[in-house]
């Protein structure tokens, strides 16, 4: 039993079809728990009023926006090394989700920024880095749509994803250098004791888990769709040749 078994599309379809409802139900449970707890049963923060509650959407979306790109990088590398089509299709399926997560993070941030910082947008390093990330997602998706041949497009987008990752990191440090920020430091971290207060901590963790589960659900659905589309294209090509 190894992970690579799921590189076989049939095996992948079987397993993903079986676990998909579980992930869907779990993500609904976690998201609704996190949101309802976060929005209705946490106190208002001292300086922020009720606007603090946007955190339960903003932080998980921002987290996912970055991690989805990392996931795309990993699956692209797997494609380049081991040539498993499921892997690169998962990257393709994940990209639009990452794009939407980036947009959610930017928009909720803007809504929060208006009452708190007095402006919807500031050229702050974090905000700018997310805007650049948005452009990378757009370019990646556009390249997928531009080329028809499945092998070529998979290779090219994978290369773009790798080069893009290096430049995205570089841009992140470049914008840090370029302008000082308004954005506060990390609200959560694994190694440091600089968490938000406990009352906010648990609903935030649950929302984050909900977003991760939601992403897994969506990426499974979308990957299955991509595999089916691939099969359909193969069938139609066979029809034409007969």
């Amino acid at each position: 039993m190894s992970l690579w078994e799921y590189a076989n599309p049939r095996k992948f379809m079987q397993t993903s079809g079986a676990v998909l409802p579980w992930f869907a139900v779990l993500s609904i449970i976690f998201l609704s728990t996190g949101m309802i707890w976060g929005f209705s049963f946490t106190p208002e923060a001292e300086n922020f009023g009720s606007s603090v509650k946007i955190m339960y959407v903003h932080v998980p979306a921002a987290l996912m926006a970055i991690n989805i790109w990392v996931m795309m990088l990993v699956t692209s590398l797997v494609w380049l090394v081991r040539r498993h089509h499921v892997s690169v299709l998962a990257a393709r399926a994940a990209a639009p989700i990452g794009l939407v997560m980036t947009l959610i993070a930017l928009f909720t941030g803007a809504i929060w920024g208006q009452p708190m910082w007095g402006t919807y947008w500031a050229w702050d390093p974090r905000l700018t880095a997310f805007l650049i990330l948005l452009m990378f997602y757009l370019g990646y998706i556009a390249l997928w749509q531009a080329i028809d041949d499945p092998e070529t497009v998979a290779d090219l987008t994978s290369v773009l994803c790798m080069v893009g990752s290096v430049f995205a990191l570089l841009s992140r440090y470049a914008v840090n250098f370029w302008n000082q920020g308004l954005h506060q430091g990390a609200s959560l971290s694994l190694d440091k004791e600089e968490h938000v207060a406990d009352v906010y901590y648990w609903p935030l963790l649950i929302s984050m888990a909900g977003f991760v589960l939601l992403f897994i659900t969506l990426v499974l659905i979308r990957t299955r769709t991509e595999i089916r589309a691939r099969r359909l294209a193969a069938l139609m090509a066979r029809e034409r040749n007969q």
Partner: protein, 218 residues
């Protein structure tokens, strides 16, 4: 490889629309800005470094799709790919030829256009230094973008979408070094970062671009 370099430069200069176009575009961008912003020299001097850098970047972008497109159409790219010299070298030479016909003229022309924008005179040296350090990176990154879109019928717009985000770090450090140099501050850090990006992409991206071309020619 020298032969390829000379061939590409000759093609760029003699076949119309490559060599002069970038420069003319740069001129037009710089001339248009005062129409939009107004002729007050204080404002123009303030934004001059940014305008010149962004203008040079866009002018570089303009001629990128010509790096491989013509060779791809008439089949000489296939010959170059199967030639006994490494494709990586071919790509590096093509990027170098692009820089010599776009980046270098832009660098030389920039101080003259800076006069139009009332840029302080102590900035001219910094303008030339930063552009000379930064534009090779633009050419090499652009060559990678051109390699990605080489097989496409209308790749021009996609090329810009792919390449512009990759230009962000170069632009930031280049413009920052220029700002600091003009203001009399210490510009060593951004200048070194800029030089680091340039040398890094010169060293690495020809390999990536060559691999990309092999994928596209497959």
């Amino acid at each position: 490889m020298i032969a390829i370099l000379i061939r590409d430069m000759r093609l760029a200069m003699r076949a119309g629309g490559g060599f002069g176009l970038g420069l003319a575009f740069f001129l037009i961008v710089v001339v248009l800005v005062p129409f939009g912003v107004g002729p007050q020299s204080a404002i123009l001097a303030e934004i001059a470094p940014g305008i010149l850098w962004v203008g040079a970047l866009l002018a570089c972008l303009l001629s990128l799709d010509r790096i491989f497109a013509l060779d791809f159409e008439d089949g000489s790219l296939d010959l170059l790919a199967t030639a006994p010299i490494p494709l990586e070298g071919v790509v590096a030479m093509k990027a170098l030829a692009h820089w010599l016909t776009t980046g270098l003229p832009l660098t030389i022309a920039a101080p003259f256009l800076a006069v139009l924008l009332h840029m302080p005179q102590n900035g001219f040296v910094w303008l030339v230094i930063t552009l000379a350090t930064g534009t090779p990176a633009l050419s090499f990154i652009g060559t990678f973008g051109a390699a990605l879109t080489v097989g496409l019928k209308r790749g021009g717009l996609l090329l810009s979408l792919l390449v512009l985000p990759l230009y962000v770090p170069t632009l930031i450090f280049g413009a920052e070094a220029l700002h600091r140099g003009m203001a009399g501050l210490d510009a060593t850090t951004p200048l070194l970062m800029l030089a680091g990006i340039t040398t890094g992409v010169i060293a690495l991206l020809p390999f990536v671009a060559a691999a990309t071309i092999r994928i596209n020619l497959r």
